[in-house]
Structure formats: C-alpha cells, structure tokens
Symmetry: C2
Subunit: 358 residues, 2 copies
C-alpha cells in the first residue's frame, strides 16, 4: 500500500489519490491545497494526526533527491523493513533542502477506517489534562488520533473574536481538550468512547464534555481549534511560536513564560494551544508593539531551552529561527550539522542561510 508522487504534487492531490484507492494518506494540515510533497518532506511536516501516524518522516518509505553536485540519489524503497546499508533518505527529510533537493517519493498508505468519535472536554488543571491523556490512551488504544489542548486564554479569545463560533459550555474553564478517535466499528467505538469519557467525568478528571453528534458538531469543535487562522490578522503584530517539551513540563513552562513576560511588559496577550499528545505547544504572543517581538521570542526560546525543549517542534528553522537554534542544540550537534552541510554542499548552493551557516 504505497503511492509514488513527484515533489511538486500538492498534498490534497495525494490525499485524494489515496482516497480514490480506498486508502488513507494521513498527513493533513491547513495548507493542504497549496503545500507540495517536496516541502512537506524537506520540513518533516507534522499536522493534526501525529499522535497516531507520526510526522512526515514516518510516512516516507523512499525518495529520490538531487545532490549539490548534480548526482541523482534514487532511493525509492517501497518496504517497511529495509536494513540494506545506511538509510539515506533521512539526510533529506527535515533538512529543509540544505543537503539535497527531493524530487520524488514513495509514500506509505493506510487503511481508511470508517468510524470517528470526537469530543470537546473541559478540565480544571493541567494535571487532569495529563491524566485524561493517559486514560484515553489506555482505554482507546491506538485509535486515539487527536489530543488537542487549548488554554482558556486561547479558547476564550477565539470564542469572543470569531464570528459565528459559540462555546458549547455555559461557563469558562481553565483548559479544554479536543479529543478524536478513529476505529473500525461505529457502534462499538462510540460506546467505548462514551464509557471512557463517562468514567473521566465521574472521577472528576474532566469537568464537562460534549460528544459530537453530527459531522456539523465535529466541524464546530475543529473550527474552535483552527480559529487561530481567523484571529491572527487582529493580533498583529505578534510573535508565533511552535515549541515542544515533555508533557509534564508544560504547565510549569506556560506559567514561567507568563511570569517572565509580565515582568517585562505591561500589557500582554499570550494565547496557548497545542498538540499536547505530541509534546507540541503553539503560542501567539503580542504586546501590540512590533519592536517588542524580538524580546518576546528570545524570552520564550530561552525558557524553552531551560526545559530542554525544542525551539521548533514542527515548523523548522529556516532563517528566522537560526539565531535561536543554540537554545535547543549544543555546540557539538551544531558542528556535526555543519560538517554534514560541508560534505554534501561544499559551495553552499542549496538553500543558503537556512538552518545553519557553514
């Protein structure tokens, strides 16, 4: 169950080709109509289903790439298992085009599962967010396909600012979790899902929950999660961050960020949400003043480094985050990256200035 595509193929075309064959290509993100396979591979794109399927790296079986000297590396493996020599495709996945240009790839497809359950839950504390994640993983097994958490800062802001969006809850809560599972049997899965949430409600791990009863409900829940796209114009100028850390570090991290920013700025908005099941938080921070952005970024990335987190969970480094890379990677790692770059692109002709400088 594989699909071979050229690097210029848009993600949506790949998704549709898989669907036409009765199968699933599980990578999905908002830019599906315009983003291309080559870029998805170069940035090791994440998206909303990483908790179940992994990032792009896990979905690429083989690829073809052109090196700086013009050599075509055709490594179009189609097998799940292949330990015949070095796994060369890893050189080109997530290296942002700096070691070679990906031209084609063999992608892994999956069975398309017929049943989906979606719920929006409210929680009193981050400890409950962790407890609920563990409970859902244990009770729903591998079928857990999304575990998206929104802090009240983000949830309330979206509800207030996006027209037509209403909260399904009568009051506000400190945290919200959007949970989704995908399975094989609709009746069975729904019962299991309801039981899991029911016992979380009884034990006080969640405060309230709304289970989607229709595709319209599903879309409404996701519209809240995806509402960021609608509110960013009104937030400008803002700092957009995409960081990762262990789940247990998250509440301390968010608290420390808020404290550090409050000490530096009088008026600050910090909207936090993320793919908590994948260790990934997104923060949108603004003081309303353009010239504050660099200071905000440096504050947050430094604290991210203190937590041994990553300054880029899924968006990559490019040129904008190169100055912060040292918060997440040590000198020896950076030198090894440079050594690889010098070996494969000695004249620096491939995507110069991105990730590292030689």
């Amino acid at each position: 169950m594989t699909l071979t595509a050229l690097a210029g193929t848009p993600l949506q075309v790949i998704q549709e080709a898989a669907e036409a064959a009765g199968l699933l290509f599980p990578l999905d993100l908002g830019a599906r109509g315009t983003c291309q396979l080559g870029g998805l591979i170069a940035t090791n794109a994440g998206g909303t289903q990483v908790i179940r399927f992994g990032m792009t790296r896990n979905l690429v079986l083989g690829l073809e790439a052109v090196l700086a000297d013009g050599t075509v590396i055709s490594s179009m493996n189609r097998m799940l298992k292949n330990n015949a020599g070095y796994d060369l495709k890893q050189l080109f996945i997530g290296t942002e085009g700096t070691l070679g240009v990906v031209t084609r790839a063999v992608l892994r497809l999956f069975p398309r599962l017929p049943s989906k359950c979606t719920a929006l839950c409210t929680l009193a504390s981050f400890a409950d967010v962790v407890a609920l994640l563990r409970q859902m993983q244990t009770k729903m097994g591998d079928s857990l396909s999304a575990y998206e958490v929104m802090w009240a800062s983000y949830f309330d802001y979206v509800i207030e600012h996006v027209e037509k969006l209403r909260s399904p809850f009568e009051r506000t809560f400190p945290l919200y979790a959007l949970i989704e599972t995908e399975g094989t049997d609709s009746a069975d899965d729904t019962e299991r899902f309801e039981n899991a949430l029911g016992s979380a409600l009884e034990s006080g791990v969640i405060q309230d929950a709304v289970i989607a009863q229709s595709e319209k409900d599903v879309q409404t829940f996701w519209a809240i999660r995806d509402g960021i796209a609608e509110i960013t114009p009104g937030l400008m100028p803002y700092a957009s961050l995409d960081v990762s850390m262990t789940v247990t570090d998250m509440p301390g991290f968010v608290e420390q960020i808020d404290k550090a920013l409050a000490a530096q700025f009088d008026l600050i908005t910090n909207l936090v949400f993320g793919h908590v099941g994948d260790n990934n938080l997104h923060l949108f921070i603004t003081t309303g003043v353009e010239s504050d952005i660099d200071q905000i970024l440096d504050t947050v990335y430094k604290i991210t480094g203190d937590y041994q987190g990553s300054v880029s969970a899924e968006h990559g480094i490019g040129t904008l985050k190169r100055a912060y890379l040292h918060y997440s990677r040590n000198d020896e790692e950076l030198e090894l990256m440079r050594r690889l770059k010098r070996t494969l692109d000695p004249n620096g002709i491939l995507n110069g200035g991105r990730v590292i400088q030689i």
Copy 2:
C-alpha cells in the same frame, strides 16, 4: 512516557523496567535476554511487532553517540516532535556502529494494553494471504500487532521435526497465518476478532482457523512460528536469508526462487516464513552441501534485486552481506554511503569492514 538507558542495557531489562512502570517497550525478539540496546540501535532491530510499532528507529527519541574523533554528540531529545535542525540520531541508527558508537538513548514507551487475541489460520493461496491482511487491517484497525505467514514447506517441516509440537489442523494447507491483535477491551475485542475471522471463513478467504482459548494456545501457536530456532541445528549447513519486497511480489518471488534453485540443485530444502505485514521474508535453504551456500545466496539475492527488494530486511549487512549490497542499492547510493563514512570516520577506525569499505 520515555525511558533513558545506557547502551549496554539488555533488552529484557528495558522491557521489565517499562512493565514495572505499567508501560510497554514494544521491541521484542528471541535474544531479549542477551542483546543490548546499543546493538539494537546500531542494527535498527525489527522483531515481531513492527507492523504496529515500527522498527527500533521509531522507538528511539534521542541518543548520545561518540564520533571517531572522540566528540560526544549528546542528542537526548525526549519529544515526539522536534524539527530544530538536522535529526542527527538518524546517522547512528541502523549504521552498524560505522559512523559512531551509541552510548545512551531515550526510548519511547507505550500504554500496556490488556487484551490480546491470537489465531492460526490456513489459506489456499497467497492471494488469500493478501486479502486476509487487508481485511484484518480494515476490521481490526491499528490493533493488528502480528501477521506472520508460514509457507507449508516451513510449517510441515517444523511440525515433523520439533518434538512436542502438533498441528492443530487435521490436514495440511499451502499457507498458514499467525494473527495477533492487542486492544483495550477483552470481550469487545474478542467478538470483533471472531467476527472478522468468521466472515473471512464464510467468504473462503481462509480455509480454517483456530482461535487461542488460553495462554497455552498462544504459546503453542508462537512455538510453531519460532520453531526455526529448534530445527536449524538439523538443517546445517544452510543459507539463512532475511529479505524484503512488496507483499504483492512475494508469491512470484518465492516461486522464482524455487524454480531457480531446482534448476541448479537436485535436492533442495527451502523453508519460507516471515513478517508478511512488514514486507519481510525469512528463507532457510539447504542442499546439505556446505560449498553450495555461496551459490544459493547469490541466486536468491540476485532475484531479490530483480524485484527491487532488500537483501537485508532487518538483520543488517555486517561483513557477510557486503558483497550482495549492490543488488539492493545503486552506485550513487553506495558512493553517498562512502562519502558519509569518509566524513565521519576518515581513518576507518569504527567497525571496519562492515556495511561498506572506503
């Protein structure tokens, strides 16, 4: 849910530490008591649960390695998502210690699921093996944790030669599949598993099936699959092969191997089984004559190359398969491997002679 371990830690110690925390480290193979984490990472070990959890590469979040020049690369990432610069750990996973020596690693743990279903099925054709795999993937979703297929050559030989092993079937069949699922709810999962096999039986995709009713049944079914360890002494001298190819290519491949060997040797035993769900076949081939082995290996590896398969699915290349690597990797790939080796180990002091020669 991570665990940090030194490279010298035996797999079984890691499995037991995960279990003590109520979690699962899903890598498992026969040598669990003696094999060490460093070797598992260096060889990107596979095992019996790859269909659900991937190979060792998928289970390592971060690692520490020592380069040939003594530099310690500490890349002890603990997050599922981290796109902050090149993913350096890939240089040391599956490269057989030729680019650096792994000293520590951060491993990914999973929830331990309480329910397991196991069945042994008989099939009339390889087309049915493929159809059953697709049906089980669709009906059991991600819970499918093993899909092991035994050709009659292997199954009959094991039943005949391993004392105490009896076939649960009254007659022989062309193919046998050992299927296992792991889930969250024993009663539900069992019903779903029985229904899936029931409909496969009704539609003629399987000829017969025995569902394990006890842990003893489970052990018996796996003892047939693992019987190879007991029969190899009696097979000596033999060629042991570990190849991979697309599932649809498998029947043609096995047929062509049998034909090619029959044309060269009068008396030949070819026992075939494998992790079909992972594209991986194991072949044990003997004519009883030691000096025939090289010719057998060359015949099989050449045909593997013709099918664009891999001469090493999970066992690696080492020194023994170096001469056959070119059947699976082209000149440009081999030269790129050498370029990496020259960059990271210019004096050839790391595991010299393995995988490639500079």
